[in-house]
């Protein structure tokens, strides 16, 4: 393609969109050239999601113009976006679990025979053909309940292609993939572009921006901070634009000095909600003064393991020994009393009650004890003092503790959880996906906190699907695959490629 016949696939001019209290998009200009892979990066709350929601017709801008293929358009609903050839793969897949791949792909536009009934054979073969054309390996008759995350994602991409999308928006598509699956996805994206499609790739992983994109737009606080050709920029420069200041991408920490054993898990078996074995014969120990990481793709038993350790899910077999005592059959509250803290992966549902005020969440695990309660009655004065102390110590950005927790940003919500969990000086902190949905600035702070816990002779068990996070924060890392530990590694001695193989269950 030569410079002078390049067309623009998408052009957004001066888009502004406000919600009560925030300007999510502030005079945004955004341009995507035809046939390019355009990365849209920014922290959570930077306005990327709002921008693509406007493009996909889910939200309407307050002002501004949109051009698709150089023509001015008004995208007032999703149908209109689809009609204009825009397709979107959401971060949370929008699939019907009991439907097959083809049923999901054809939903709403199934081919019909002369009697008006859906022609399922025709649909299956149409899906097979598109899948073959773009190198997307999907069995049209596979039910989504039985499909891996990678296949579900490919099904989502096929859904947009089935609707003749020419402009594909992929919202954080690699968040749920192994490094190998990510490579496969990148192959697919390249073949889409080879077939003339345009791809908008939303991410906050700068390594991926550098690897896959042609151009990149950075957003912060609802504004575009910069646009450049990927080859002319660097991860450091992008990070600075995203955060607005220098960011230390590496966690600074000394060598760990582990002492006595605080948690010992022996041959643990745990069933999941469907009665399947989620954790299989798993053993591990955690010592004071170290951060043990558990790496793995989401859904490989991490959730059930953490639930079993924190007392939210029964263990089926095996032992959990904490501070010298068996705890596998005692209540979560007793486990907390014994010094076990838990930062759950699902902040909004398990970690916090978003409808309650900040102070209520902060004392949720301790309100019944002196000095917060006296004779069964909560002492508001002590509770408020306690909450304000935590707010200051953990830098929770809020006008006050009498504010609904749900009104805080994701990062600040997570700080509330962490403040509560660390307020009782636990022996062991189990942190599950502690930085999910948290912006870079706060990720840095949370990582620092975990290292501080370790340095104060306490223990941390860090479970994360973000490979970079486990590798930079943990001192020892177990890779989990299908409920079993595939390998223990020292994060300093192993590269991404090797980790990817372990995460896919492949052991040398």
């Amino acid at each position: 393609m030569t410079q002078n016949n390049i067309e623009t696939a998408v052009e957004v001019k001066n888009i502004t969109k406000s919600y009560p209290g925030v300007t999510a998009n502030d005079s945004v200009d955004f341009k995507v050239l035809k046939g390019e892979i355009h990365a849209l990066v920014g922290e959570n709350g930077a306005g990327k999601s709002t921008l693509v929601k406007i493009l996909y017709g889910i939200e309407q801008p307050d002002s501004g113009e949109i051009f698709i293929n150089d023509k001015p358009v008004e995208i007032n609903k999703v149908d209109k976006a689809i009609e204009l050839g825009i397709g979107m793969v959401h971060q949370e897949f929008h699939l019907v679990p009991s439907f097959t791949a083809a049923e999901n792909i054809g939903l709403g536009q199934e081919p019909r025979n002369s009697r008006g009934f859906i022609d399922w054979d025709e649909l299956n073969s149409e899906v097979s053909n598109i899948a073959k054309k773009y190198g997307l390996d999907v069995d049209p008759k596979l039910r989504m309940i039985d499909a891996s995350v990678g296949i579900q994602q490919r099904t989502e991409i096929l859904k947009t292609l089935y609707r003749n999308a020419n402009i594909l928006i992929l919202d954080e598509p690699t968040a749920v993939l192994t490094p190998q699956e990510t490579d496969e996805l990148f192959e697919v994206i390249r073949s889409l572009v080879d077939e003339g499609k345009t791809v908008i790739f939303i991410t906050h992983k700068l390594r991926e921006v550098m690897e896959i994109s042609d151009r990149v737009t950075v957003m912060r606080d609802g504004k575009v901070q910069g646009v450049s050709n990927t080859k002319d920029t660097s991860p450091e420069e992008l990070a600075k634009l995203m955060v607005g200041r220098e960011v230390f991408m590496q966690v600074e920490k000394e060598e760990a000095k582990p002492t006595e054993k605080v948690l010992e898990v022996k041959n643990l078996w745990v069933h999941d909600a469907r009665g399947l074995l989620a954790v299989k014969n798993l053993s591990l120990d955690v010592h004071k003064g170290e951060i043990v990481g558990i790496a793995g793709v989401d859904g490989n038993g991490q959730t059930e393991l953490v639930e079993a350790l924190s007392g939210l899910r029964p263990t089926s077999k095996g032992e959990v020994i904490f501070d010298g005592k068996n705890i596998e059959s005692i209540s979560p509250r007793k486990r907390r009393r014994a010094g076990l803290a838990h930062v759950p992966e699902d902040r909004a549902n398990t970690g916090l009650n978003l409808k309650l005020d900040i102070w209520e969440n902060l004392v949720g695990t301790s309100y019944f004890r002196s000095p917060l309660s006296k004779g069964g009655i909560i002492s508001m004065k002590n509770v408020v003092d306690h909450s304000n102390n935590l707010r200051e110590k953990f830098d929770i950005r809020t006008p006050g503790v009498f504010v609904r927790t749900g009104s805080l940003s994701g990062g600040n919500q997570q700080k509330v959880v962490i403040a509560r969990e660390l307020s009782e000086d636990p022996l062991l902190t189990i942190a599950s996906q502690p930085t999910r949905g948290v912006d870079i600035g706060n990720i840095e702070a949370i990582h620092k906190q975990l290292v501080e816990i370790r340095d104060s002779e306490k223990a941390v068990l860090l479970v994360s699907a973000e490979l970079d996070e486990v590798m930079s924060v943990a001192d020892r890392v177990a890779v989990i695959y299908e409920g079993e530990i595939v390998e223990w590694v020292n994060p300093k001695d192993v590269d991404q490629q090797q980790m990817g193989l372990y995460m896919a269950g492949i052991k040398d």
Binding site: D79, F99, G275, S316
Partner: protein, 308 residues
């Protein structure tokens, strides 16, 4: 085996009659559940239809007018359910319960003010809906099994087949199922999920209306207070037992009908206490709920841990 003799044609006919209102409610409930609406309010819709049906027939002297008014009452109650739940955002279960309680009180009030009666209303000028006799079946061996039912009974069999086709073989069916299972996926595919929910709720209102007029104008020609007698709930259980599918719901309704029919029959044979027999459908409901519970337990039966 003397008791086996109860399994004859008249038991079959009685089974079909008992199963009909349950299936009508069950089909509506199944469609609502498939689209993600828990429609508890079918009991009230049915009761309103039964009352309005008989009132309209009494005043007009026409069974058809009674039927049309009865079905309209079911639909209007369904619209009320939809407006409160979808437009005003009230909790579906609470709205359903409110409708049911309101319908009991409302029909009783109208019974007393319009007809000056307590408990029940019957009058020679009420025109019931007549059974259909098929000429071509007269004097054939099928006459006793297939002929002489009221229209709603034939409708139920017809609906079982039509709904099966709609459910699995049309865009509408997949759209309804997608709406219930993952509304975001449905919206993504350009399906108006609110419209789907309205559609199934109105449809369930039509069927509850037909079910109500079946009670007061077809099966009998009278109205008694609270004559829906929990059939709205039993229909809901039937749809759940049948996995919210048309044929499953139909099968479950026949099962309830069988229990009812056997009860009535045994009463004649053994001179059982009639109050005991009246309890049969409800006892069966409890049994079925237990079966549903066991089925769910079996589904999550933990995989055994392999021996080392």
């Amino acid at each position: 085996m003397e008791w086996l003799e109860i399994f004859d044609i008249s038991l079959f006919r009685s089974l079909i009659r008992s199963a009909t209102p349950i299936a009508l409610i069950g089909f509506g409930a199944a469609m609502c559940s498939a689209s993600g609406v828990l429609n508890i309010g079918l009991e009230g819709k049915m009761l309103n239809a039964a009352f309005v049906g008989i009132a309209a027939s009494y005043y007009s002297g026409s069974a058809l007018t009674g039927f049309i008014w009865g079905v309209s009452a079911g639909v209007l109650t369904a619209i009320l359910f939809g407006v409160l739940s979808f437009n005003l955002g009230a909790d579906e279960v609470l709205v359903g319960l409110a409708i049911n309680i309101f319908s009991i009180a409302g029909t009783r009030y109208l019974l007393e003010t319009l007809f000056k009666r307590r408990g029940f209303f019957s009058d020679p000028s009420i025109q019931g809906i007549d059974p259909i006799n098929f000429e071509f079946l007269v004097d054939t061996r099928f006459e006793k099994i297939l002929s002489g039912y009221t229209p709603s009974i034939y409708l139920v069999f017809f609906l079982a087949i039509v709904l099966y086709l709609v459910y699995y073989k049309t865009r509408l069916g997949t759209a309804i199922r997608a709406t219930g299972e993952n509304p975001e996926a449905a919206e993504d595919a350009g399906i108006n999920t609110l419209r789907m929910k309205w559609l199934t709720v109105i449809f369930s209102g039509v069927l509850a209306g037909i079910g109500g007029t079946f009670l007061s104008l077809e099966n009998m020609t009278l109205f008694t207070e609270g004559m829906s007698a929990g059939k709205g709930y039993i229909g809901l259980v039937a749809s759940s037992f049948g996995n919210n599918t048309p044929l499953g719901t139909f099968g479950a309704s026949l099962f309830f009908g069988l229990g009812d029919a056997i009860g009535i029959r045994l009463q004649g044979v053994y001179e059982l206490d009639s109050r005991l027999i009246l309890m049969v459908p409800y006892a069966l409901t409890v049994v079925v709920l237990i079966l549903i519970g066991i089925r769910q337990r079996i589904r999550v039966r933990p995989v055994p841990i392999p021996e080392q």
